[in-house]
Amino acid sequence: MNESNHSHMSDVEARVRALESLLSEKGYIDPAAIDALIDTYETKIGPRNGARLVAKAWTDSVFASWLREDTTAAVASLNFQGNQGAHFSLAENTPDQHNMVVCTLCSCYPWSLLGLPPVWYKSAPYRARVINDPRSVLADFGVTLPDSARIRVWDSTAEVRHLVLPMRPDGTEGWSEDELATLVTRDSMIGTGLAMTPEAVQR
């Protein structure tokens, strides 16, 4: 970090401290609640929730059908609702169609299933380009799809949160839900990646 960046950051830090102190002094906020919010999103809510959901859909055909028909209720049955996670929609990948999720207007994202969004998801390059040139975005992630595959992009413009259901990798017959969950990356549930292959992960 260079000198100018450093002084810039200090200015931001000072503004944050001043605002927190003022709102706390007024009694509008409880700093302990902010500590708890930070801890919650750093340690308690993350992509493992979504990975469990995907692994269950891969192994339990009744659950998978429910997830397709009433995504919100099926997610709720696993207690995976929460802030920025009230209404859900499923985008299921097939050999013919790959799905990708974006919020071109800002950063809408299924927090309760995937945690807080990564910086790139909120960044101008992703928001601007995935919507009309998704193959070039996939290239930025080192992902290449078959030429024949159609791509469907879901722009999250309301309070419906989209989750991509990646395809189950070949060679995973007989794997347990817990084992399968280890193959489900965050990016595979946004659509900028695919589920890992058995060869790519130590079983």
Binding site: A76, S107, P125, R152
Partner: protein, 220 residues
């Protein structure tokens, strides 16, 4: 509002840069800004859509040059003054110069699990009128340019699409952000072809959808 936040289709921003093992927050202050936004909005002084509108209304050059959490900070500084939680002078000095205004709620630490992991904030609402559109209906989005908050991206205006899902009635973001109440409307997933959105040069294998409130749509 036709702001720079509405980025779909803009060019020359460079590559997307994935970050291996990315931390939730890249500095302590980012976590504080995140938590401050959640806690301050929990007072009930403003709603989610007003919060989004505040960030979108930042000066365009500032919005583009700032990081995500810097914009959250700048948006929050505007909100606390606009909704009279503090005065400009208090914000500038960082200390209170008068009594607080009564608020509906103060988020305490014990309530954080319920807020973060509870049932979420449902935006679906009962509605007396039947849905105007059904799955499979052809629609055209309005060519509209409201000065206030809207969730109809510029790149989808005046475009022909097909209703793919019907989500029931939801709080209408445009009205809610303007302080006009929840004014629920039917909400649809509308799918467009790449060529409809981007012209003949578009990848013919591409399609895109948005969630659109009923008043964004006409019969196509």
């Amino acid at each position: 509002m036709n702001g720079v936040h509405d980025m779909g289709g803009m060019m020359a921003f460079g590559p997307v840069e994935p970050e291996p093992d990315e931390p939730t927050f890249h500095a302590d202050w980012e976590g504080r800004v995140f938590g401050l936004n959640i806690a301050a909005s929990a007072t009930g002084a403003w709603n989610l859509d007003m919060g989004r509108s505040a960030r979108e209304s930042l000066p365009p050059a500032q919005y583009l040059a700032s990081s995500y959490y810097e914009n959250w900070l700048s948006g929050l500084e505007r909100l606390v003054v606009k909704f009279s939680l503090v005065t400009e002078a208090e914000l500038a000095s960082g200390s209170s110069r008068g009594p607080a205004r009564p608020q509906r709620n103060v988020l305490v630490a014990d309530a954080v699990p319920k807020v973060s992991l509870g049932s979420g904030s449902m935006t679906s609402r009962p509605i007396a009128t039947p849905a105007r559109f059904n799955v499979g209906d052809e629609v055209i989005t309005r060519n509209m340019h409201p000065k206030g908050h809207t969730r109809l991206p510029v790149y989808t205006r005046g475009k022909r699409g097909v209703v793919e899902r019907v989500h029931g009635a939801h709080v209408f973001a445009d009205a809610h952000a303007a302080g006009l109440g929840e004014a629920p409307q039917w909400l649809y997933t509308v799918r467009f072809s790449g060529t409809e959105l981007w012209g003949e040069d578009s990848d013919p294998r591409l399609s895109t959808s948005i969630e659109a409130w009923e008043s964004y749509l006409d019969v196509g």
